[in-house]
Symmetry: C2
Subunit: 185 residues, 2 copies
């Protein structure tokens, strides 16, 4: 059955961290919606790239998705952190073991919601301050802990998207996309 | 003096190959304009991401830039290949040794214009058919040959952007951005 992913966007999102997962997931056959938490569909990234989100957060039911993707970029994360429907959905996803992927400053939202207790995760160096004891994995890369995919920064954005695709759609889809995109996968 | 780069966009561009260079270059202090070769400023990538370019190609003088970036995505490259001002500018840049960066299917445009004679370049595997003898470097990575930066595919997009930044703005800027983005640089 077709899988459905939401990539959450607030003004100031890191463009590569948001679009590498969109790219990898769509290539892998996942139906991806980019979802703006701003007033309209127009969102502007860190480094000033303006794009149109597919949906506004008030127009979708985040609980109907199979994967939530939380990109970094500190301004974007500040905006995502204010989004109550996203917070509710992240709590439900983590409680139910549904896939959640967060990168760079994104995992701070999970930490602030108390969702990293007993979990393993990484983030941009310095963003681990609010992590519970034992959660932070000090790597430059991707950490997969069951349903939870986290990664450290822009340099890991494609690997992060690939890992989310692998968790959501399986090895065959991920291996095919990794070959197409000329990445190790 | 501030450097000025144009990232050329036609409908069907590969989003990571276009935006990773925008991101790396802007972080490095380069003034980047995304330039649409379509009728309007709205451009839609491969994998369906719609963004606003900063300029239309008819509104800028490409010869006034210090770097031209040609992303891949076969649909995007088809559109770029039809753009006469881009072809003229690429010919001038290559003749004058000004920086040109092309990735994935992008280097095909250079090959078709006869600009890879005596040069070393790479591209997405299979796109090297029109390369002159001796030009193609069979790597999954980035090839820097003086003013010419080429790379193989999406998996190399950040390294490609970093290499373009290094050629245009020097090692200090590139090293700083590589550290910020958590990439090898």
């Amino acid at each position: 059955m077709e899988k459905l992913a939401a990539v959450m966007l607030g003004d100031g999102f890191e463009p590569v961290e948001a679009l590498a997962p969109v790219d990898a997931l769509r290539r892998g056959g996942v139906r991806v919606r980019t979802v703006s938490v701003m007033d309209g569909l127009q969102v502007t990234s860190a480094q000033g790239v303006t794009m149109h989100a597919d949906d506004g957060v008030s127009d979708v039911d985040l609980l109907g998705f199979d994967l939530l993707v939380v990109p970094g970029g500190s301004g974007g994360v500040d905006n995502l952190a204010k989004c109550a429907p996203l917070a509710d959905a992240l709590e439900r996803f983590m409680a139910e073991g549904k896939p959640v992927a967060a990168i760079c400053a994104g995992p701070m939202i999970l930490a602030d919601l108390g969702l990293l207790e007993g979990r393993k995760a990484t983030c941009y160096p310095g963003c681990e301050e609010g992590f519970p004891a034992g959660a932070y994995q000090d790597v430059r890369g991707v950490v997969v802990d069951g349903n939870l995919v986290t990664a450290s920064g822009p340099g890991q954005a494609l690997d992060f998207g690939m890992a989310a695709l692998r968790v959501l759609a399986g090895d065959a889809a991920a291996d095919r996309v990794a070959a197409d995109m000329l990445i190790a996968g």
